[in-house]
Assembly symmetry: C2
Homo-oligomer: 162 residues x 2
């Protein structure tokens, strides 16, 4: 079992960004998997986008939402993965969010391949990974590709989304 | 980082008990801490009990609740800790629950001392541990002791209970 330790940064520039409170945690890989089994979400949004070639934009996203009193944990996740952003969310919630396709494909996905989720959320992750791999092949730039991705996205987060 | 592996049992006797589905997971200690940081609850109930000397019963409890499709994870937690029960809960939920004072004091508490929670739930755990230590000293059998425990219990799960 590998252990990755990175230092947690303090974000100050953008007021929407949330400061680190308490100690920045150094997280263990297996802790991260357990926490994401409980609190993480793999999601593929498909948004209408008239300006784009296919009129649709495919938006894969990995998020972890917490009460803002645990925002330091979200910053620790950001440090751990070395990508993504921490933002205030609805009300008193904060979110760690990774939307960059390359970060998802080359950082988030390989981590959860190496450290498999134990909950049924693993099924969502496998669909999520498949969508990203289709996007690597530009499948989302064809009409049938978007429909295929829409079908996969429809199978995700059944009874799990928050 | 220690790794504890125990085999997961299949419960069949009591129909309220839920069978293990899918593979029984073998859990890593740090995964358990991460999952409990997300999904666990440390709670101290104080119930009116006219037949008891102090007219109150102090009921510490550690629980993890999941959608029943992840019941195999709750059985894996039960196997991991070697104590507690898995029961169906409200609606489509299942719960892993430890209520035995000796199991809480000598199994659950030492585990989370060795593998500290990273979220603010750690504060709940520390209050929970203090209540159990007071109970070891029979403090809950005095009127002032029950009031002291009630005060500690009132500080727990603020904005975290489910």
């Amino acid at each position: 079992m590998g252990t990755i330790r990175r230092e947690g940064p303090v974000c100050t520039g953008n007021p929407q960004r949330l400061d680190v409170r308490d100690r920045p945690s150094k997280l263990e890989a297996e802790w991260v998997t357990g926490f994401v089994d409980g609190e993480g979400c793999f999601h593929v949004g498909i948004a209408a986008h008239p300006d784009m070639r296919m009129h649709f934009q495919v938006l894969p996203e990995f998020t972890v939402v917490q009460h803002e009193r645990d925002v330091q944990l979200l910053h620790a996740l950001k440090s751990f993965f070395g990508c993504g952003v921490v933002r205030s969310n609805h009300g008193d919630r904060a979110a760690y969010r990774v939307r960059s396709r390359s970060d998802l494909m080359w950082t988030i996905v390989p981590f959860f391949v190496e450290h498999p989720l134990q909950s049924q959320k693993r099924g969502d992750f496998m669909l999520f990974r498949r969508v990203l791999e289709m996007m690597e092949l530009d499948v989302h730039l064809t009409r049938s590709g978007v429909e295929g991705i829409r079908a996969l996205a429809g199978q995700m987060n059944r009874g799990r989304s928050r």
